[in-house]
Amino acid sequence: MKPFDYIRAGEIEDVAGGQIIAGGTNLLDLMKIQVVAPDALVDITRLDGLSDIAEHEGGLRIGALVTNTTVANDARVREGWPLLSRAILAGASAQIRNKATTGGNLLQRTRCPYFYDTSQACNKRAPGSGCAAMGGAGRMLAIFGTSEHCLAAHPSDMAVAMAALEAEVEITNASGETRCVPMNDFYRGPADRPDVETVLGDGDLVTAVILPTPRAGERQTYRKVRDRASYAFALVSVAGSVRMEGDTIKDVALAYGSVAPHPWMDQKVVEMLEGETASNELFQRAAKTLVPETAPHPDTEYKITLLRRTFIAAMRQLTGLADSAGTDISRAHS
């Protein structure tokens, strides 16, 4: 770790003074290995008004400092947006979730191993240095939305659930002005600047996430597939919410995780499903339309199949085709 100044923000305008630290569960790891080496840290954890979950226009406003544990356990969240609760609980470990914040979770950095290793070229860490993941070991990389400068995936589970739920990110700038950005517009693709990951400008602070009204009467799931049963980042994940009328799919919301530089959405799939009768055949047909625009890193090709099949598994669960009481289903989510 390089020596740094520590600023405890008392007012929103202090935020512009350095790199924001919230729970520190991601940032400190990166600082220890000098992937990030800020001259100053701004600790936002004493700022007022960011630590509550409040009812808001029929939905919820989750303050940026509310911990992952608190959100996941909140009775209103569990009742109205169970998908979000499940997604959070599918991530990290209890200890990390106790410390991790809503804002920090959205802004956590990729887990591309080359980003983590300062002996390797990485455009995200050191703009213009190249991308060592290309031609390297790339099992965790993205298959959608990548660029020739960066193939990395965004690892957040929470953000995928929020994207499916059409949440908005509330951003406050140094002058105290607030704007709301849909989750999908909050992240930027890598293009030629993979180091710039969101629309946040200098001095901008994520102050909350706004959840719209609950999707009443829908079944929800967060289906995360990973290399071990718990405490691992997703290989792929599917967040889904479905309203059925008899055998007919009336409404669907879907987002896919760990396959793109941000939560991935695909309207085509939704259109193919809505108004149709649930069946394996339908899901298989819809799954086939999940096609990367460019050939993925060879180590990541498996994600195409895995994503499609996880999508089918999730849809079977959401539409009642699969007996969701099947063995260990609950453990697969914990």
Partner: protein, 727 residues
């Protein structure tokens, strides 16, 4: 007085005749409270006032030479004292029981991640900062980093019995399959650490080391000093699994820096250092061939493997160790190929050989069973050889058949049904079996026992790497001397104490335990003499000595210390008989038909591993091994870059040891009663590694039973399972 005992003949079961009744009991480990309260001092905990901190600098090229280290690049960092390079630094940890320095590369770089210097500073933070920012200039050379591209590949002579080719070509049914396993890291919880301090030309090293007797020589040889000037202290070790068998680069660096600076130096590896430079288990490629008659008699067995290591290391993963003695055949053949690659060096990781060899071997046998239409348990039972198939030695004690039968009964094996026939929702359920085997050893060991009144002290340089040595040595001495175990103090991990085997190869309890037993037995003789009875009529229990109608309290009888030391070593019984632990693993898994996820639902290990000294610590060892079986079957793999060979999975978020959620609630272990009279004077066998050997095989066979498809590349992560399902 010393007593050198050589294991030349089977030994009487004296421990069964003794009366204290503590052997085998599930006694809590005496060091437990210290460990859970954080008062057990691990290597890095022994800070002293004047101490400074060292952090290893890693090479960021694969092969070549350090041309220049630019110290000025870090001089401005507050607290930095020195950047030290030295011709005596070591490239990687010594191999187990080496007793001499590993490769000392000077300014040469042999793999990406090799320690090339140590930065010393007043604080750990400053040292780590400087180690990361140090400017190093290299000359680079080309080097192969994958076995497939290596140009230095050597195939050994086949080890054979009978005529494999003839047996193979005459076989009515055959299986010929190739498997791969990923490289493994020991991933011990405690990172490797050392504190060195010099006084009057002698160095004291506190380090996390498994084999103090050998480590002392390794450090002396590394530094070019006489072993009498080296003392090693390792009373507590936070897990080893082979990764702390040999002296490591952090210890050499600490000793060299402490000497140069005249201050105690602590070097703790970062987790990334550990993955970069601590000996890994080689990845393997294995071709297994079984030939059999239609009736299910195995006629031919061949198991050929390819492993890797860096040049200069003598170790090659002994993949086929258990394949050579589990089943009989008319012809057997085993050939190993070793590819030299410029990557993190390879060495012993828990159950070297069996841990990965048995994944492939037991999976291939399962496939043979399926082809023959014979139950896999039955096929194993039908092919147990009379004697060691390679050399004809009789087995000293082998209850493999009982383990298989007992396990099948307990596990409900009879209900398992046809492959692919059971499902719950989208999950397919299957059961698998595999044999367990791990060769047993006795290594020269000494121990000293001191008795005053009804209190005893056991002293040996043996280590406790979390396995329970403190508990079992106390139990052995307590049993032999008729004491409550709480009256026995055990002192370990100090090279000034009598030299023992150390912890490795599952031989620690056998070896140090036998030496302790023999030393205590000498004390029994002295007690008998003091009491005035014949030694074989002496009974010791609860501090009372009785015999030939005499009785006295030890507190009256032993008013001045009785001190005895004993040394045990292997002898003729290891040539006349073959000793191994055996067992049977059973696993039930659920495989998700859409996602390829595998969940282990229950496991059972039935094991015959000689006399059990402590039911609780033995069970913990067995379960720990079985959990690693889950890891090697499903989750664990060190990945490296195909171009420069650097380790890509450099932390515990990316190197996936099983998490709690991977381990089923039902992890059952059953020990079948056994005494191995040919093994050692206490009739024990190694325990630490039998649990892992074969456990993963049972899981992989259960996947095949659940789905009707086989995975050949391990770990069987969801992508690989799906590929098999789609194949």
């Amino acid at each position: 007085m010393k007593d050198h005992f050589t294991m030349d003949a089977p030994q009487p079961r004296l421990l069964d005749e003794m009366k204290q009744g503590v052997i085998g009991t599930p006694m809590d480990r005496p060091d437990g409270p210290q460990k859970v309260s954080g008062t057990a001092g691990y290597a890095a905990d022994h800070t002293t006032e004047n101490m400074v901190h060292g952090v290893l600098v890693r090479a960021t090229i694969t092969r070549g030479r350090v041309r220049q280290i630019d110290k000025s690049s870090v001089e401005a960092i507050d607290g930095v004292i020195d950047v030290i390079t030295d011709a005596r630094m070591i490239r990687n940890p010594a191999q187990g029981m080496a007793g001499s320095a590993p490769v000392q590369p000077g300014d040469a770089v042999h793999y990406h991640g090799q320690p090339i210097a140590v930065v010393v500073a007043e604080t750990f933070e400053a040292a780590r900062d400087a180690a990361q920012r140090l400017a190093v200039h290299y000359e680079t050379e080309e080097a192969a980093v994958t076995p497939e591209t290596s140009t230095d590949v050597e195939t050994g002579e086949p080890e054979t019995a009978g005529d494999f080719e003839a047996a193979w070509s005459g076989s009515e049914v055959t299986v010929d399959k190739t498997y791969t396993t990923g490289a493994h890291a020991a991933a011990a919880m405690e990172p490797h650490a050392a504190i060195a301090e010099w006084k009057d030309g002698a160095v004291t090293l506190r380090s996390a080391l498994q084999m103090v007797r050998f480590n002392k020589k390794e450090l002396a040889d590394t530094l070019g000093i006489d072993p009498s000037n080296v003392r090693i202290l390792a009373p507590f070790i936070g897990g080893g699994f082979g990764s702390k068998l040999g002296l490591g680069p952090e210890a050499a660096a600490a000793a060299i820096a402490a000497e140069k600076l005249g201050r105690p130096v602590r070097v703790v590896m970062t987790r990334q250092n550990v993955f970069d430079t601590v000996l890994r288990r080689s990845e393997t490629s294995q071709r297994v061939r079984f030939g059999a008659t239609k009736a299910g008699k195995i006629t031919a067995i061949a198991h050929d493997d390819r492993v890797s290591n860096i040049d200069g290391e003598g170790f090659a993963e002994p993949v086929t160790q258990a394949s050579q003695f589990l089943y009989g055949a008319d012809g057997l053949s085993f050939t190993q190929t070793l590819a030299r690659i410029a990557t993190t060096p390879a060495g012993s990781v828990r159950a070297p050989g069996e841990a990965v060899g048995m994944l492939a071997f037991e999976a291939a046998l399962d496939e043979l069973a399926e082809k023959l239409g014979i139950d896999p348990v039955q096929l194993r039972l039908d092919n147990l050889p009379e004697t060691h198939p390679m050399d004809g030695r009789p087995y000293s004690a082998r209850r493999l058949a009982d383990c298989l039968k007992d396990g099948a009964e307990r596990f409900g094996w009879a209900d398992r049904g046809a492959p692919g026939s059971r499902r719950e929702g989208d999950w397919q359920i299957g059961m698998g079996v595999a044999s367990a085997a791990r060769a047993n050893m006795l290594i020269k060991s000494s121990s000293r026992v001191r008795l005053t009144g009804n209190r005893a002290i056991v002293e040996t340089d043996m280590t406790d790497i979390g396995t329970g040595t403190y508990a079992i040595l106390a139990q052995i001495a307590a049993e032999a001397l008729g004491l409550d175990p709480s009256h026995v103090e055990v002192r370990l991990g100090d090279s000034d104490l009598p030299g023992a085997s150390g912890s490795g190869g599952s031989f620690g309890a056998n070896s140090a335990g036998s030496a302790t037993f023999l030393a205590a037995k000498k004390i029994r003789a002295r007690i008998a003499e003091a009491l005035g009875c014949a030694e074989d009529s002496l009974t010791l229990q609860n501090g009372l000595a009785r015999g030939d109608n005499r009785e006295a309290a030890l507190t009256d009888l032993v008013t001045e210390e009785f001190l005895e030391e004993a040394t045990v070593k292997a002898g003729k019984t290891s040539e006349s008989h073959f000793s191994s632990g055996f067992g049977a693993h059973f696993a039930e898994v659920a495989v998700h038909e859409w996602t390829g996820e595998v969940r282990v639902r229950r496991m059972l290990g039935v094991m015959s591993m000689g006399r059990i000294l402590n039911e609780k610590t033995a069970r913990s060892q067995a379960i720990g091994g079985m959990i690693w079986g889950i890891g090697s079957a499903l989750t664990e793999e060190m990945q490296s870059d195909p171009r420069d060979g650097h380790v890509v999975t450099r932390d515990l978020a990316n190197y996936h040891v099983p998490a709690h959620a991977d381990v089923p609630g039902q992890m059952q272990v059953v020990f079948l009663e056994e005494r191995d009279d040919y093994a050692n004077p206490i009739q024990t066998k190694g325990i630490g590694e039998l649990g892992i050997s074969g456990a993963g095989g049972a899981i992989l066979n259960a996947i095949a039973h659940a789905t009707g498809r086989r995975v050949y590349d391990y770990p069987a992560t969801p992508d690989r399972v799906l590929a098999a399902l789609d194949a």
